[in-house]
């Protein structure tokens, strides 16, 4: 099984990194890196003065954390785009482009096919975001002379867990449809409209933090610097990094989404008919 997994993985990864989607994501990442680097260099040492009065409390945070929070905040949305490009059409495109007639008649278990393609999509997402991480590191070292290793590595670790979770979640939608457009729209609508609406409604009406929603959990990527959740309308926030229990909670959410989505995807694909 493991040798077939590697064959499937490398076959799909080749197709991903040579694809137009990969270069589009790379361009988006480079643009985001350039803009954030520009902001970092241009406004370093002056961020406190630029903040509006209602956010003046942030000027009490050390500037390195504030800048890295900004970098991580932008970084946490990149996996959503990459997963939409790589994972949303993962299964549906096999049906729509009729490659399923070839791939599903190869002597390999469908679970291995899904897992191999999933890992290839995750790798492609991580590789495309590496440019941004590199730019973040270079900018932070250039401006501050150092980067505090613990929160930086923790943020990266959370980012990787989030990539696994959002990719698995997108794979699930992809397995349900035979048309890419439906898979794209469902992933986008669920993540950007349903999750955000539920999150905002629960926080506004019940002051409840819907920690179990993927978009909410993904804020841990920036909250390891300053514990402000930008998706919530709640007043209690901390200028300190998120505590270990919050990191643990978000990690658990990511892992549950990953495992549950993949298991459901396996079940759907195993029974999927090629029409």
């Amino acid at each position: 099984m493991s040798s077939n997994f590697l064959k499937v993985y490398s076959h799909y990864f080749k197709n991903y990194y040579r694809s137009r989607s990969f270069y589009i994501i790379l361009i988006i990442t480079i643009l985001a890196s350039l803009i954030t680097s520009y902001l970092t260099f241009k406004y370093s040492g002056r961020i406190g003065n630029l903040l509006p009065t209602r956010l003046s409390v942030l000027s009490k945070v050390n500037e390195e954390s504030l800048i890295l929070y900004l970098w991580a905040y932008i970084m946490s949305s990149l996996p959503v785009f990459s997963s939409v490009f790589f994972s949303s059409p993962a299964i549906s495109s096999e049906m729509e482009n009729r490659t399923a007639f070839y791939i599903f008649t190869q002597p390999v278990d469908r679970i291995v096919l899904v897992l191999g393609k999933y890992m290839a999509a995750v790798t492609a997402s991580i590789v495309s975001i590496l440019v941004y991480i590199f730019a973040e590191l270079v900018s932070a070292i250039a401006v501050f002379g150092f980067v505090e290793t613990d929160p930086f590595l923790l943020s990266l670790f959370m980012l990787i867990l989030f990539i696994f979770a959002i990719s698995a979640f997108s794979f699930l939608f992809s397995s349900l449809f035979d048309k890419n457009m439906y898979a794209y729209i469902s992933t986008f609508v669920t993540y950007f409209i349903i999750f955000y609406s539920v999150n905002i409604a629960l926080s506004l009406v019940y002051s409840y933090n819907a920690f179990f929603l993927l978009n909410n959990a993904s804020t841990i990527i920036e909250r390891v610097y300053i514990n402000i959740n930008p998706t919530l309308f709640v007043s209690n926030f901390s200028l300190n990094p998120a505590g270990i229990h919050e990191v643990f909670l978000s990690s658990t959410v990511f892992i549950i989404y990953t495992i549950a989505s993949l298991l459901l995807t396996f079940l759907v694909v195993e029974r999927k008919e090629v029409k």
């Binding site: 064959k7 080749k14 040579r18 490659t99 007639f101 599903f104 008649t105 390999v108 278990d109 008919e273």
Partner: protein
């Protein structure tokens, strides 16, 4: 080698694609599934290759259910179902290498096998291009090469000459004959071209409206569809031969088999009939109808 199709029914929604199919393939040779578009040929191949699940019945290959032992079954099979499509950013050689490696080939053995299948399918000259740049015919050749890799015991080819230029189609027919020469494989292929079926087959199965209409190992022993009833002049002014209460012959065409005509019925079915005086009379009646039409 044994393929056993037992009481298979397949529906797409309420549309019955296959009904009560019972077939047994155990002798090596070319088995052609012949029939008009929509007869259920491709659906039958999808069921055999586990791409589709029947609502009722089962398919067993060497005693193994194709859904329960999918991987083992696919190891024995080389398939080309529907017009093949591949990942556009992958080169043809990488596709063959992938298929070969999943069949357990590696190193020099894999390289030699790729060279063997690309030689016999004529795909060697474009294997190092990305599939996105392939024409329909090139993809078809690559698909056949991928099906042949690993020299499988059973080959399932769905309209392999479709989309290929006439010379290419002749080459593929020659290839099928060549593969059948040793009589060590079961080659199941579909076509709606009767001449192709006659030339290549050891056994012909005619599917129509999802049912086996005819199954013959003697290729000269085709459907004996008897024309029933006299030629009548109907109120619309045309003369038809009725073949059943609800159907009449719409058109008669010559085929390349001297003894047979091809009939297209008013329901769009295609049937084959031995030439006889009745058929000659039918052809005349159709001519009368056509004269009135034009």
């Amino acid at each position: 080698m044994n393929i056993s199709i037992k009481s298979v029914d397949k529906y797409y929604g309420s549309f019955m694609a296959l009904q009560g199919i019972n077939l047994e393939f155990s002798e090596p040779g070319v088995i052609t599934i012949l029939g008009p578009n929509g007869a259920g040929k491709t659906t039958l191949l999808k069921v055999i290759t586990s791409l589709s699940r029947p609502r009722k019945g089962m398919v067993e290959i060497d005693g193994m259910n194709v859904y329960d032992d999918r991987k083992k079954i696919l190891m024995k099979l080389g398939t080309l179902v529907e017009q093949p499509e591949f990942y556009t950013y992958i080169k043809g050689r990488e596709i063959l290498s992938f298929s070969g490696s999943l069949k357990g080939l590696s190193g020099m053995a894999l390289k030699d096998e790729i060279s063997r299948v690309s030689d016999i399918t004529g795909s060697g000259k474009f294997l190092d291009k990305k599939v996105g740049k392939y024409s329909r015919g090139m993809k078809q050749r690559l698909g056949i090469a991928a099906a042949l890799i690993g020299d499988p015991e059973i080959l399932v080819l769905d309209e392999p000459t479709f989309g290929i230029d006439p010379i290419g189609a002749l080459e593929i027919r020659d290839l099928i004959q060549q593969l059948n020469a040793k009589k060590d494989k079961i080659i199941i292929f579909t076509t709606h071209v009767i001449e192709e079926a006659v030339k290549l087959s050891d056994r012909i199965i005619i599917l129509n409206n999802g049912r086996v209409e005819y199954d013959a190992s003697n290729k000269n022993d085709y459907v004996k569809l008897r024309v029933t009833g006299p030629i009548k002049e109907y109120p619309d002014g045309y003369r038809y031969v009725k073949i059943s209460e609800s159907e009449h012959i719409f058109e008669v065409r010559e085929t390349e088999i001297p003894e047979f005509n091809r009939l297209i019925t008013s329901k769009g079915d295609v049937r084959f009939i031995e030439k006889s005086s009745e058929v000659e009379e039918t052809i005349r009646s159709i001519s009368i109808k056509n004269d009135k039409n034009f």
